[in-house]
Structure formats: C-alpha cells, structure tokens
C-alpha cells in the first residue's frame, strides 16, 4: 500500500520538474544526483521509508527547510481548525438528528433531513464563499481570512477560525444528523425501548439510558470516517481562507513539485485516516458489547 502511495507521487523526472522544460540536460542530471533521484525507484523508496519511520522526513526541495518542521506546524494549525469544527458540529448534528427522529415525519424532520442532506452535497468552497459574502462582506462580523495575527489570544484565534469551521459544520451536519436520526428511529422501534416504557420508566430515562446509548453508536463511527473527508476539504478551505495548515502545505507542495513534502504529507494523511478508522472501530466495540468479540460484520 505504501508503495502505491510512493509511486503515485513520484511521476517522472524530478530534476526536470523542478528546473522546468527549458533547463539543459546536464543541470537536470546534476540536480537529480544531488537529490538522489537518479537512483532506482525501489532504492529511493526503501531509503525514504526507512527515514520516515525514524521521524526524518527529509528536506523540502523548495524551501530547504526540514520537512518535519513544515508538517508539524501546519498539522497543528489544521488540528485547531478541525477540533473547533468538530466541537461545533458533533453536538449540533446529534441534537438535530435525535430531534428529527422524535418528530419523525414532521416539517422539522423534513427540514433537518432534506436540508442537511442538501447542505452536505454543496462543495466546501461554495459554502466558504457564501459564508464570506454574508458574514465578512455583508454583515462585517467576522474576518474573511483565517490566519490570526501573531500572538493572538485564544478568543481572537477562535474568531478568525469561526468561518472556516462553520464551512465544515454546514458540510458535515447533514451526515451526522442523518446517522443520529436513523439510529434513534431504530432504537425507538426496538423491543428493549418498549419494555422500558412498559416497565414504567420515565420517558426521559428511557431516552437517555436506552435510546441514545444505542443510537449514538453508528453516529460515532460516521464521525470518525468523516475525518478523512475533512482532510480533503481542508485543502480547499485553507486555500480560500488563506490559512497555513496541512491542506495549504499540500497544495503548495503540489504546485512547487516539492516531492519530499508531498510524499510525507500524503503518507501522513493516509496514516491519520487509517488511525481514525481504527479508533472508530474500537469506540464502536467499547460502546457496543455485542461486537466486542470481533464477530464479522
């Protein structure tokens, strides 16, 4: 799988790509030798993989900075944005979904279900531009860029990050609300809920102890799978809001053909994605005793 990533990211002649089509062959060869990109692909790959595992990501071809510096600062920045987005959207999505499920078939339910689904379908850059138009340009409430001034306090940082985070909220709300709604409806229909009601438990207790506990399972799984999706969205959102995160780093590495940065970033994203999926599975098992024994499906 790693070979797959590496060969994806390594098309053609690196020296030629950096120096452009008009450089003479001698200097291209020289640069290739300097970078070690004239060696057989498999040697380069093993060499690179070896240093990746030990935490040495190499040096950026474009800026001559160590790749790890670039990646860690931008990863931290992106993490801030992602955490803020999740803090807003997860409770909102769950409350929305559970509310829609309790009022199944009502106008509010239709609004949350169809509206959420539609909002999800709209690309991030469209939401971002609409949000900038309304909140930054129209109402003048929030800044149109996400990069806070150096040394800004927590609240100023949040103020700057609010619009990009809201972009993700619009895109992710539909997914989460949909899962929470489906889970809650299923739990409301289940025998154990009926038993709990017949037993005479107060409705609130039934909801909290029996319905929610079961309905939030698939929701947690879907939240974790959305992390990979979120990283894809980060490229676009960070570009629009001019925010120096991992997406922006990736985009810049792409346009500058900065392969060391590109490889490490992509591999790191792949790893984050896999870890997120793994955590989702583990959480699912912890919360649901039925799948704890590792039965398939």
């Amino acid at each position: 799988m790693f070979i797959f990533f590496a060969s994806q990211v390594l098309p053609g002649d690196v020296g030629r790509r950096i120096l452009g089509p008009f450089a003479d062959q001698a200097s291209v060869d020289q640069l290739n030798e300097q970078l070690g990109t004239d060696r057989p692909l498999i040697v380069q790959y093993l060499d690179w993989l070896g240093s990746f595992v030990t935490g040495d990501f190499g040096t950026s071809v474009a800026t001559r900075q160590p790749v790890s510096d670039i990646i860690w600062t931008s990863l931290q920045a992106s993490l801030k944005l992602a955490i803020l987005a999740f803090i807003i959207v997860v409770p909102l999505g769950i409350v929305g979904g559970v509310y829609a499920a309790m009022k199944e078939g009502s106008a509010a339910d239709r609004l949350i279900s169809v509206g959420g689904l539609s909002a999800t379908a709209v690309p991030e850059f469209v939401w971002a531009t609409i949000l900038i138009l309304v909140f930054a340009l129209g109402l003048g409430l929030l800044p149109a860029t996400a990069q806070p001034p150096d040394g800004a306090g927590v609240f100023t940082q949040i103020k700057y990050l609010l619009l990009p985070a809201l972009t993700f909220v619009f895109v992710l709300f539909g997914y989460i609300a949909r899962m929470a709604r489906a889970g809650t409806i299923e739990a409301l229909d289940a025998d154990y809920t009926r038993t709990a009601v017949i037993k005479g438990l107060p409705w609130r207790t039934v909801i909290r102890r029996h319905v929610l506990r079961n309905s939030l399972l698939p929701t947690i799984a879907v939240v974790a799978t959305q992390i990979g999706y979120l990283i894809g969205g980060l490229i676009v959102v960070e570009l629009i809001f001019n925010y120096q995160g991992i997406g922006q780093a990736l985009a810049r590495a792409l346009t500058q053909k900065d392969f060391p940065v590109l490889q490490s970033t992509v591999l790191l994203i792949g790893i984050i994605y896999l870890v997120a999926t793994l955590i989702a599975d583990i959480l699912y098992a912890v919360l649901n005793p039925r799948v704890r024994l590792g039965a398939e499906e």
Partner: protein, 301 residues
C-alpha cells in the same frame, strides 16, 4: 410463493426460483418507477437537474451575450438591466457565463460516473463471484485506493498528468470505481449463494452468462443507487478540481473556475462574479442529491 409487490428488493426478499422470474422482476421495476414519480423529492430534484441539462444543451443559443467576449472598459460592473448578474473582471457577462457554464460540468461529471459504474460493476461482479485469489488481489488494490480521501488522490493524479477534461473523467472514474465495486461485490456475495445461480451452473452455463445474464439484472438496484449517489459526488469533485485550477481550463465559463478567478476580489465588494456561480453549483448538487435520495428510498426499501 411470489414475493409481495411493494417490497421488491431482490436482496432482502430473495425471489424464489419459480416460473418466469423475469416477469416478476419487470413488475417490481415498474413499481419502483411509480414510487419514484410520486415522490416530491424526486420531482423537485428532477426539475432542477432538468433545467441545467437544458442550459447545458441549449444555453449557448439563448444567452443574451457571448460568454467569452471580454470588454475591459466594462469590468466588474454591478448587476443591471444590461447584464443581469453584472460582469466579471474581464468585462464578461456573468449571467451568460453561468448559463453556458453548465455544459462542461454536465459532460465531465456524468461521463466519469458512467465510467466508474461500468468499471466498478465489472470489478464487483468478478471479485464477488470468483472469490479466491482474484478477489484477494483486487480487494487489496481497492482498499489501497479507498485509504486516501478522494480529492487528494484526484489532485495528485491531475497534477502529474496535467489538467484536461479527459484526465478528470478518467481520474474520477477510476477513483469512484472501487467504491462502486465494493457495493456491487457485497450484493453479488449474497446473490451467488441463491438457487438460481446453482441452477444455471447445473445447466452448464458459462461463467460470463451467469455473471451478466443471471446475476447482473438482480443487482441492478444497488447499481442504480450507486450511480445516482456517485453522480452527486462527481459533480462535487469536478467543481472542486476546477476551483483548484486543476479541472476545466480557462477561458471556459466553468462555475468552479469563475469562483477561483474571482474569490480574490470579494473583499473589494464585488460579490456578483462569485455568488451566482456558487448558487449554480449549489442548486445543481442539491438537485442531483434530491434525485439520489428518492432513488435510494425507492430501490432500497
């Protein structure tokens, strides 16, 4: 012994092998389309999508201005009676560009989705039916592709191959194919254990015949659902790639490209070259998703 009409899911109901299963299937199919036409979500979505299909086909003939003609003396003019949505930074008419802009995306996204569906269905049929080493190898490759966010794979490939409509079709087609393959494989896995497949094998039918004439029609429901859902994602991806400058190339009046070219001037108060293409994309994806939602409900329950 016949499966009840109204619950026509071949996966859940497992139609028993009795006389004329084809007729039964056709009836179930007709029932689904009746359900679809009665769904408000479907009608609303179809009207929106239909409008943009109309624009894609006839847009160039009906717009008031040439979408490519620039007029530097009249750049970034506010919306007026002359140009309803204003003009962009090269003085081109935004309204005409939005209408004609439907064409590029309406060619690339559906073509890519068809490619993805054909490749994905073939992969899903083969892996699900033969199992064994073929399945193992292909499934590992599928998992490898699925391990990265779609937009990142697409971006990397387009950058290395160079942006063009054909590249986009191939990239999106091949990136979506594994996702469709996974769904089809799951459907085939439950289908291949059914009696009609065993019967066909006893009749000494070839593998190709069993796959395409026996199993394929019975998994058409999930394939339909996948197609409409993926079409929504394809539009999403094409628009995003164009926005990143990796998709449809200038001077084509593409929506994502228009936003890309003008999001820098938003802060100057020029909202019209950005807002109208944004609303166009939003309406198209919402339309396609309404249709997809209705199709999913009609075919899956």
């Amino acid at each position: 012994m016949s499966s009840p009409v109204g619950a026509p899911d071949p996966l859940a109901v497992t139609p028993p092998v009795v006389a004329a299963p084809g007729d039964e299937r056709r009836m179930a199919q007709r029932e689904r389309f009746r359900l679809l036409l009665r769904s408000k979500t479907f009608i609303a979505g179809a009207i929106i999508v239909g409008f943009w299909v109309f624009c894609a086909i006839f847009g160039a003939a009906i717009v008031p201005h040439d979408p490519l003609r620039s007029n530097p003396l009249n750049d970034l003019a506010a919306p007026s009676g002359e140009s309803w949505f204003g003009t962009d930074r090269l003085g081109r008419d935004v309204f005409s560009r939005v209408i004609v802009g439907a064409r590029g995306i309406m060619i690339v996204a559906p073509t890519a989705t068809v490619l993805a569906t054909v490749v994905g269905t073939a992969l899903g049929l083969v892996t699900g039916y033969f199992r064994g080493p073929v399945d193992d190898i292909l499934s590992r490759i599928i998992e490898a592709v699925l391990a990265l966010p779609v937009i990142i794979i697409a971006t990397l490939t387009v950058v290395s191959l160079g942006p063009s409509n054909l590249t986009m079709i191939i990239v999106i087609g091949l990136v979506f194919a594994p996702i469709i393959a996974r769904t089809v494989r799951a459907a085939v896995l439950s289908e291949r254990e059914l009696e009609y497949v065993a019967a066909a094998r006893l009749r000494n039918e070839g593998n190709g015949y069993i796959l395409f004439r026996e199993i394929l029609p019975n998994v058409s429901g999930p394939i339909m659902v996948e197609f409409t859902v993926r079409l929504g994602y394809a539009i999403f991806t094409v628009a995003t790639l164009s926005f990143l400058g990796l998709g449809i190339q200038p001077p084509a009046p593409d929506w994502g490209l228009q936003i890309f070219e003008h999001y820098g001037v938003i802060s100057g108060g020029f909202w019209w070259p950005v807002l109208f293409p944004a609303l166009a994309i939003a309406s198209l994806v919402v339309g396609v998703n309404l249709v997809a939602d209705a199709v999913t409900q009609a075919f899956e329950r």
